[in-house]
Amino acid sequence: MKAREERIDRLVALIPWGLGLAFGVVAVHLITLLATPSLAPNSAYRRLAENLPLGEVRLLPRATPDNPGPPFSDPFAFLAACRFDLNEGPLRLRAQADGDHPLSVSVRLANGAILYSGADTQTPHGRFNILIVTRAQADAIDESRETLDEAERAAAEAAELRLVSPAPKGFALFRLLALRQGEAEAIGAQRAGFECKEEKPPS
Protein backbone atom coordinates (compact mmCIF):
# COMPACT_ATOMS: atom_id res chain seq x y z
CA MET A 1 0.00 0.00 0.00
CA LYS A 2 2.78 2.36 0.99
CA ALA A 3 4.76 1.49 -2.11
CA ARG A 4 1.76 2.34 -4.28
CA GLU A 5 1.35 5.71 -2.60
CA GLU A 6 5.01 6.45 -3.14
CA ARG A 7 4.68 5.59 -6.82
CA ILE A 8 1.68 7.92 -7.16
CA ASP A 9 3.58 10.70 -5.36
CA ARG A 10 6.48 10.28 -7.77
CA LEU A 11 4.15 10.45 -10.76
CA VAL A 12 2.47 13.59 -9.42
CA ALA A 13 5.91 15.14 -8.89
CA LEU A 14 6.63 14.53 -12.60
CA ILE A 15 3.61 16.52 -13.79
CA PRO A 16 5.27 19.98 -13.52
CA TRP A 17 8.32 18.64 -15.36
CA GLY A 18 6.07 17.23 -18.10
CA LEU A 19 4.22 20.52 -18.45
CA GLY A 20 7.54 22.38 -18.51
CA LEU A 21 8.81 20.06 -21.22
CA ALA A 22 5.67 20.55 -23.35
CA PHE A 23 5.89 24.31 -22.94
CA GLY A 24 9.58 24.27 -23.83
CA VAL A 25 9.02 22.15 -26.95
CA VAL A 26 6.26 24.46 -28.21
CA ALA A 27 8.34 27.57 -27.44
CA VAL A 28 11.46 26.27 -29.21
CA HIS A 29 9.37 25.14 -32.20
CA LEU A 30 7.60 28.49 -32.59
CA ILE A 31 10.73 30.59 -32.10
CA THR A 32 12.76 28.60 -34.65
CA LEU A 33 9.85 28.53 -37.11
CA LEU A 34 9.31 32.30 -36.93
CA ALA A 35 13.06 32.93 -37.20
CA THR A 36 13.49 30.70 -40.27
CA PRO A 37 12.49 33.29 -42.94
CA SER A 38 15.11 35.73 -41.65
CA LEU A 39 17.84 33.18 -40.95
CA ALA A 40 17.44 30.53 -43.67
CA PRO A 41 20.81 30.40 -45.49
CA ASN A 42 19.16 29.29 -48.72
CA SER A 43 16.37 31.87 -48.89
CA ALA A 44 15.82 33.64 -52.20
CA TYR A 45 17.02 36.96 -50.76
CA ARG A 46 20.21 35.50 -49.26
CA ARG A 47 21.12 33.76 -52.50
CA LEU A 48 20.63 37.01 -54.42
CA ALA A 49 22.57 38.97 -51.80
CA GLU A 50 25.62 36.76 -52.37
CA ASN A 51 26.46 38.25 -55.76
CA LEU A 52 23.86 40.79 -56.86
CA PRO A 53 24.87 44.40 -56.10
CA LEU A 54 22.16 46.76 -54.86
CA GLY A 55 20.18 48.41 -57.65
CA GLU A 56 21.44 46.15 -60.46
CA VAL A 57 18.89 44.29 -62.61
CA ARG A 58 20.06 40.80 -63.48
CA LEU A 59 18.43 38.10 -65.57
CA LEU A 60 18.36 34.88 -63.54
CA PRO A 61 19.26 31.55 -65.12
CA ARG A 62 16.27 30.00 -66.82
CA ALA A 63 14.94 26.72 -65.41
CA THR A 64 16.47 23.80 -67.32
CA PRO A 65 17.36 20.24 -66.27
CA ASP A 66 21.04 21.21 -65.87
CA ASN A 67 20.62 24.67 -64.48
CA PRO A 68 20.67 25.30 -60.74
CA GLY A 69 18.55 28.44 -61.29
CA PRO A 70 15.74 29.54 -58.99
CA PRO A 71 14.22 26.36 -57.59
CA PHE A 72 10.98 25.14 -59.13
CA SER A 73 10.60 28.00 -61.60
CA ASP A 74 8.64 27.91 -64.81
CA PRO A 75 10.74 26.91 -67.86
CA PHE A 76 8.70 29.43 -69.88
CA ALA A 77 9.40 32.33 -67.51
CA PHE A 78 12.36 34.69 -67.63
CA LEU A 79 13.05 36.14 -64.21
CA ALA A 80 15.06 39.27 -63.57
CA ALA A 81 15.83 40.42 -60.05
CA CYS A 82 17.11 43.52 -58.36
CA ARG A 83 17.96 43.94 -54.71
CA PHE A 84 17.30 47.04 -52.65
CA ASP A 85 18.18 48.60 -49.34
CA LEU A 86 15.99 51.58 -48.59
CA ASN A 87 18.52 52.82 -46.06
CA GLU A 88 20.39 54.05 -49.15
CA GLY A 89 17.31 55.91 -50.41
CA PRO A 90 13.98 55.20 -52.14
CA LEU A 91 13.97 52.77 -55.07
CA ARG A 92 12.28 53.37 -58.42
CA LEU A 93 11.19 50.36 -60.51
CA ARG A 94 10.23 50.80 -64.14
CA ALA A 95 9.18 48.21 -66.70
CA GLN A 96 7.16 48.29 -69.88
CA ALA A 97 5.27 45.33 -71.33
CA ASP A 98 5.37 44.85 -75.08
CA GLY A 99 1.84 43.44 -75.29
CA ASP A 100 2.98 40.05 -76.62
CA HIS A 101 4.77 38.72 -73.59
CA PRO A 102 2.91 38.80 -70.27
CA LEU A 103 4.92 40.73 -67.71
CA SER A 104 4.47 40.90 -63.97
CA VAL A 105 6.39 42.56 -61.18
CA SER A 106 6.55 41.63 -57.53
CA VAL A 107 8.26 43.34 -54.61
CA ARG A 108 9.40 41.13 -51.76
CA LEU A 109 11.02 41.75 -48.40
CA ALA A 110 14.17 39.97 -47.25
CA ASN A 111 12.03 37.62 -45.13
CA GLY A 112 10.08 36.53 -48.23
CA ALA A 113 6.89 38.50 -47.55
CA ILE A 114 5.33 39.76 -50.78
CA LEU A 115 4.75 43.50 -50.50
CA TYR A 116 3.24 43.89 -53.96
CA SER A 117 2.50 41.86 -57.06
CA GLY A 118 0.91 43.07 -60.24
CA ALA A 119 0.56 42.20 -63.90
CA ASP A 120 0.87 44.39 -66.98
CA THR A 121 -2.88 44.19 -67.63
CA GLN A 122 -3.49 45.88 -64.29
CA THR A 123 -1.29 48.90 -65.00
CA PRO A 124 -1.93 51.83 -67.37
CA HIS A 125 -0.59 50.91 -70.84
CA GLY A 126 1.30 47.96 -69.38
CA ARG A 127 3.74 50.35 -67.72
CA PHE A 128 5.09 49.84 -64.22
CA ASN A 129 6.35 52.87 -62.33
CA ILE A 130 6.77 51.90 -58.70
CA LEU A 131 8.44 53.89 -55.95
CA ILE A 132 9.41 51.87 -52.87
CA VAL A 133 9.96 53.94 -49.74
CA THR A 134 10.10 53.72 -45.97
CA ARG A 135 7.45 55.49 -43.93
CA ALA A 136 9.88 58.33 -43.14
CA GLN A 137 10.75 58.74 -46.83
CA ALA A 138 7.06 58.76 -47.76
CA ASP A 139 6.41 61.53 -45.23
CA ALA A 140 9.39 63.52 -46.55
CA ILE A 141 8.14 63.18 -50.14
CA ASP A 142 4.66 64.33 -49.11
CA GLU A 143 6.19 67.29 -47.34
CA SER A 144 8.30 68.24 -50.37
CA ARG A 145 5.19 68.11 -52.57
CA GLU A 146 3.26 70.50 -50.37
CA THR A 147 4.71 73.37 -52.37
CA LEU A 148 3.09 72.01 -55.56
CA ASP A 149 -0.40 73.06 -56.53
CA GLU A 150 -3.14 70.44 -56.40
CA ALA A 151 -3.04 69.53 -60.08
CA GLU A 152 0.74 69.06 -60.06
CA ARG A 153 0.56 66.96 -56.92
CA ALA A 154 -2.23 64.81 -58.37
CA ALA A 155 -0.22 64.33 -61.57
CA ALA A 156 2.89 63.32 -59.61
CA GLU A 157 0.91 60.85 -57.53
CA ALA A 158 -0.97 59.38 -60.49
CA ALA A 159 2.25 58.73 -62.39
CA GLU A 160 3.57 56.29 -59.83
CA LEU A 161 2.53 53.55 -57.47
CA ARG A 162 4.07 54.21 -54.10
CA LEU A 163 4.79 51.28 -51.81
CA VAL A 164 5.61 51.92 -48.17
CA SER A 165 7.83 49.10 -47.05
CA PRO A 166 7.80 47.96 -43.42
CA ALA A 167 11.42 46.78 -43.76
CA PRO A 168 14.35 48.36 -45.61
CA LYS A 169 15.76 45.31 -47.41
CA GLY A 170 14.23 43.21 -50.12
CA PHE A 171 14.16 42.48 -53.81
CA ALA A 172 12.00 42.96 -56.86
CA LEU A 173 11.27 40.25 -59.40
CA PHE A 174 10.34 40.92 -63.02
CA ARG A 175 8.67 37.89 -64.60
CA LEU A 176 8.39 37.79 -68.38
CA LEU A 177 6.84 34.87 -70.22
CA ALA A 178 8.16 33.45 -73.47
CA LEU A 179 5.34 31.26 -74.66
CA ARG A 180 6.77 30.19 -77.99
CA GLN A 181 10.02 28.56 -79.05
CA GLY A 182 12.86 30.90 -80.07
CA GLU A 183 11.68 33.99 -78.23
CA ALA A 184 14.73 34.33 -75.99
CA GLU A 185 16.23 37.12 -78.10
CA ALA A 186 13.11 39.27 -77.91
CA ILE A 187 12.95 38.63 -74.21
CA GLY A 188 16.59 39.69 -73.77
CA ALA A 189 15.86 42.96 -75.58
CA GLN A 190 12.82 43.65 -73.46
CA ARG A 191 14.72 42.96 -70.29
CA ALA A 192 16.92 45.94 -71.17
CA GLY A 193 13.89 48.11 -70.40
CA PHE A 194 13.71 47.00 -66.78
CA GLU A 195 14.92 49.67 -64.46
CA CYS A 196 15.75 49.54 -60.80
CA LYS A 197 17.25 52.76 -59.59
CA GLU A 198 18.00 54.31 -56.24
CA GLU A 199 16.60 57.80 -55.91
CA LYS A 200 17.90 60.64 -53.84
CA PRO A 201 16.03 60.88 -50.55
CA PRO A 202 14.00 64.10 -50.48
CA SER A 203 15.82 66.78 -48.50
Binding site: A27, T64, F72
Partner: protein
Protein backbone atom coordinates in the same frame (compact mmCIF):
# COMPACT_ATOMS: atom_id res chain seq x y z
CA UNK B 1 19.16 20.24 -11.13
CA UNK B 2 19.85 17.16 -13.24
CA UNK B 3 16.15 16.87 -14.08
CA UNK B 4 16.07 20.51 -15.17
CA UNK B 5 19.02 20.02 -17.53
CA UNK B 6 17.36 16.94 -19.03
CA UNK B 7 14.07 18.82 -19.57
CA UNK B 8 15.84 21.80 -21.19
CA UNK B 9 17.81 19.62 -23.59
CA UNK B 10 14.77 17.47 -24.38
CA UNK B 11 12.70 20.61 -25.10
CA UNK B 12 15.44 21.94 -27.38
CA UNK B 13 15.80 18.65 -29.23
CA UNK B 14 12.08 17.99 -29.64
CA UNK B 15 11.34 21.63 -30.57
CA UNK B 16 14.03 21.64 -33.26
CA UNK B 17 12.88 18.25 -34.51
CA UNK B 18 9.29 19.56 -34.78
CA UNK B 19 10.53 22.54 -36.82
CA UNK B 20 12.65 20.33 -39.08
CA UNK B 21 9.62 18.09 -39.64
CA UNK B 22 7.38 21.08 -40.43
CA UNK B 23 9.86 22.31 -43.04
CA UNK B 24 9.84 19.01 -44.93
CA UNK B 25 7.50 18.40 -47.81
CA UNK B 26 4.71 20.65 -48.95
CA UNK B 27 4.20 24.06 -47.39
CA UNK B 28 1.66 24.79 -44.68
CA UNK B 29 -1.66 23.23 -43.79
CA UNK B 30 -4.11 25.12 -45.98
CA UNK B 31 -3.61 23.44 -49.33
CA UNK B 32 -6.69 23.01 -51.53
CA UNK B 33 -7.23 19.93 -53.65
CA UNK B 34 -9.11 20.01 -56.95
CA UNK B 35 -9.10 16.49 -58.32
CA UNK B 36 -5.45 15.50 -58.75
CA UNK B 37 -4.29 19.11 -58.46
CA UNK B 38 -3.17 20.85 -55.27
CA UNK B 39 -2.72 24.56 -54.72
CA UNK B 40 -1.75 26.78 -51.81
CA UNK B 41 -4.06 29.80 -52.04
CA UNK B 42 -2.23 31.92 -49.47
CA UNK B 43 1.32 31.28 -50.66
CA UNK B 44 1.50 34.37 -52.88
CA UNK B 45 -0.48 36.74 -50.67
CA UNK B 46 -0.08 38.85 -47.59
CA UNK B 47 -2.02 36.27 -45.55
CA UNK B 48 0.65 33.55 -45.93
CA UNK B 49 0.91 31.54 -42.71
CA UNK B 50 4.17 31.19 -40.73
CA UNK B 51 4.60 27.54 -41.73
CA UNK B 52 4.30 28.34 -45.43
CA UNK B 53 6.64 31.30 -45.09
CA UNK B 54 9.25 29.17 -43.32
CA UNK B 55 9.09 26.47 -46.02
CA UNK B 56 9.37 29.09 -48.79
CA UNK B 57 12.48 30.56 -47.13
CA UNK B 58 14.18 27.28 -46.36
CA UNK B 59 13.61 25.94 -49.88
CA UNK B 60 14.75 29.22 -51.48
CA UNK B 61 11.46 29.60 -53.36
CA UNK B 62 10.00 32.82 -54.73
CA UNK B 63 6.34 31.88 -55.28
CA UNK B 64 4.19 33.88 -57.67
CA UNK B 65 2.32 36.76 -56.14
CA UNK B 66 -1.44 36.35 -56.15
CA UNK B 67 -1.83 39.00 -58.87
CA UNK B 68 0.80 37.30 -61.03
CA UNK B 69 -0.76 33.88 -61.17
CA UNK B 70 -1.67 30.65 -59.47
CA UNK B 71 0.21 27.38 -59.25
CA UNK B 72 -1.36 23.93 -59.20
CA UNK B 73 0.72 20.79 -58.71
CA UNK B 74 -0.23 17.18 -59.55
CA UNK B 75 1.79 14.27 -58.22
CA UNK B 76 -0.82 11.60 -58.97
CA UNK B 77 -3.45 10.81 -61.58
CA UNK B 78 -7.23 11.05 -61.14
CA UNK B 79 -7.29 7.72 -59.30
CA UNK B 80 -4.51 8.70 -56.92
CA UNK B 81 -1.71 6.59 -58.45
CA UNK B 82 1.68 8.37 -58.46
CA UNK B 83 2.77 9.75 -61.83
CA UNK B 84 5.38 7.50 -63.46
CA UNK B 85 7.29 8.05 -66.67
CA UNK B 86 6.85 4.38 -67.69
CA UNK B 87 3.16 5.19 -68.23
CA UNK B 88 1.41 7.47 -70.69
CA UNK B 89 -1.20 9.96 -69.47
CA UNK B 90 -4.01 11.84 -71.13
CA UNK B 91 -4.81 15.30 -69.79
CA UNK B 92 -8.16 16.59 -70.93
CA UNK B 93 -9.57 19.99 -70.17
CA UNK B 94 -11.30 23.06 -71.39
CA UNK B 95 -10.38 26.73 -71.50
CA UNK B 96 -8.78 27.80 -68.23
CA UNK B 97 -9.62 31.17 -66.64
CA UNK B 98 -6.29 32.88 -67.19
CA UNK B 99 -4.62 35.14 -69.72
CA UNK B 100 -2.12 32.39 -70.44
CA UNK B 101 -1.15 29.17 -68.76
CA UNK B 102 1.81 26.81 -68.82
CA UNK B 103 2.12 23.13 -67.98
CA UNK B 104 5.58 21.81 -67.09
CA UNK B 105 7.05 18.44 -66.16
CA UNK B 106 9.41 18.32 -63.19
CA UNK B 107 11.68 15.79 -61.61
CA UNK B 108 10.99 15.09 -57.97
CA UNK B 109 13.82 17.49 -57.00
CA UNK B 110 11.99 20.41 -58.67
CA UNK B 111 14.07 20.77 -61.83
CA UNK B 112 12.52 20.42 -65.28
CA UNK B 113 12.72 16.81 -66.39
CA UNK B 114 15.19 16.14 -69.23
CA UNK B 115 13.73 14.39 -72.26
CA UNK B 116 14.60 13.54 -75.86
CA UNK B 117 12.68 16.51 -77.27
CA UNK B 118 14.42 18.97 -74.90
CA UNK B 119 11.02 20.54 -74.29
CA UNK B 120 9.81 20.73 -70.74
CA UNK B 121 6.23 21.75 -71.06
CA UNK B 122 3.42 23.26 -73.07
CA UNK B 123 1.74 26.63 -73.07
CA UNK B 124 -1.79 27.75 -73.86
CA UNK B 125 -0.33 29.77 -76.75
CA UNK B 126 0.88 26.75 -78.69
CA UNK B 127 -1.96 24.33 -77.99
CA UNK B 128 -4.15 22.56 -80.51
CA UNK B 129 -7.80 22.76 -79.46
CA UNK B 130 -11.22 21.60 -80.54
CA UNK B 131 -13.63 24.26 -81.75
CA UNK B 132 -15.21 24.62 -78.29
CA UNK B 133 -11.83 25.31 -76.67
CA UNK B 134 -11.44 21.79 -75.28
CA UNK B 135 -7.99 20.26 -75.46
CA UNK B 136 -6.26 16.95 -74.96
CA UNK B 137 -2.61 16.60 -74.03
CA UNK B 138 -0.76 13.32 -74.33
CA UNK B 139 2.08 12.96 -71.81
CA UNK B 140 4.41 10.14 -72.82
CA UNK B 141 8.06 9.31 -73.40
CA UNK B 142 7.48 8.58 -77.08
CA UNK B 143 6.30 11.27 -79.49
CA UNK B 144 2.51 11.50 -79.97
CA UNK B 145 0.44 13.33 -82.56
CA UNK B 146 -1.32 16.50 -81.38
CA UNK B 147 -0.35 18.08 -78.07
CA UNK B 148 2.58 15.96 -76.94
CA UNK B 149 4.04 16.58 -73.50
CA UNK B 150 7.39 14.74 -73.49
CA UNK B 151 8.36 12.74 -70.40
CA UNK B 152 11.93 11.82 -69.47
CA UNK B 153 13.61 8.74 -68.07
CA UNK B 154 13.48 9.51 -64.35
CA UNK B 155 11.00 7.05 -62.86
CA UNK B 156 8.72 9.63 -61.23
CA UNK B 157 7.64 13.14 -62.06
CA UNK B 158 5.10 15.77 -61.18
CA UNK B 159 3.21 18.34 -63.18
CA UNK B 160 2.94 22.07 -62.52
CA UNK B 161 0.10 24.04 -64.03
CA UNK B 162 0.48 27.81 -63.77
CA UNK B 163 -2.42 30.12 -64.51
CA UNK B 164 -0.97 33.54 -65.26
CA UNK B 165 -3.14 36.53 -64.53
CA UNK B 166 -5.90 34.22 -63.44
CA UNK B 167 -9.56 35.15 -63.63
CA UNK B 168 -11.95 35.70 -60.74
CA UNK B 169 -13.04 32.06 -60.41
CA UNK B 170 -9.43 31.06 -59.80
CA UNK B 171 -8.70 33.94 -57.46
CA UNK B 172 -11.76 33.52 -55.27
CA UNK B 173 -9.94 30.87 -53.21
CA UNK B 174 -13.22 28.95 -53.26
CA UNK B 175 -12.45 27.86 -56.83
CA UNK B 176 -16.13 27.57 -57.65
CA UNK B 177 -16.60 26.60 -61.27
CA UNK B 178 -12.86 26.17 -61.83
CA UNK B 179 -12.36 23.08 -63.94
CA UNK B 180 -8.78 21.83 -64.20
CA UNK B 181 -7.59 19.14 -66.62
CA UNK B 182 -8.25 15.53 -65.73
CA UNK B 183 -5.25 13.16 -65.69
CA UNK B 184 -6.01 9.66 -66.94
CA UNK B 185 -3.43 6.91 -66.92
CA UNK B 186 -2.91 5.05 -70.18
CA UNK B 187 -0.63 2.14 -71.08
CA UNK B 188 2.42 1.42 -68.97
CA UNK B 189 5.60 -0.28 -70.21
Amino acid sequence: MRALIIVVFAALGLGLAATAYALRGEPGFDSVRLGPWTTWPHLGGADIDPYERAVVASEGLAPMGVNEGLLFVARADDLGAPLETRCAYRLAGTDLPARVWTLAVYRIDGRPQPNVADRHGLTSAGLLRASGGDFVIEAAREARPGNWLPLGDDPNFFLALRLYQAGASALSKAYEGLSLPTITRGDCS
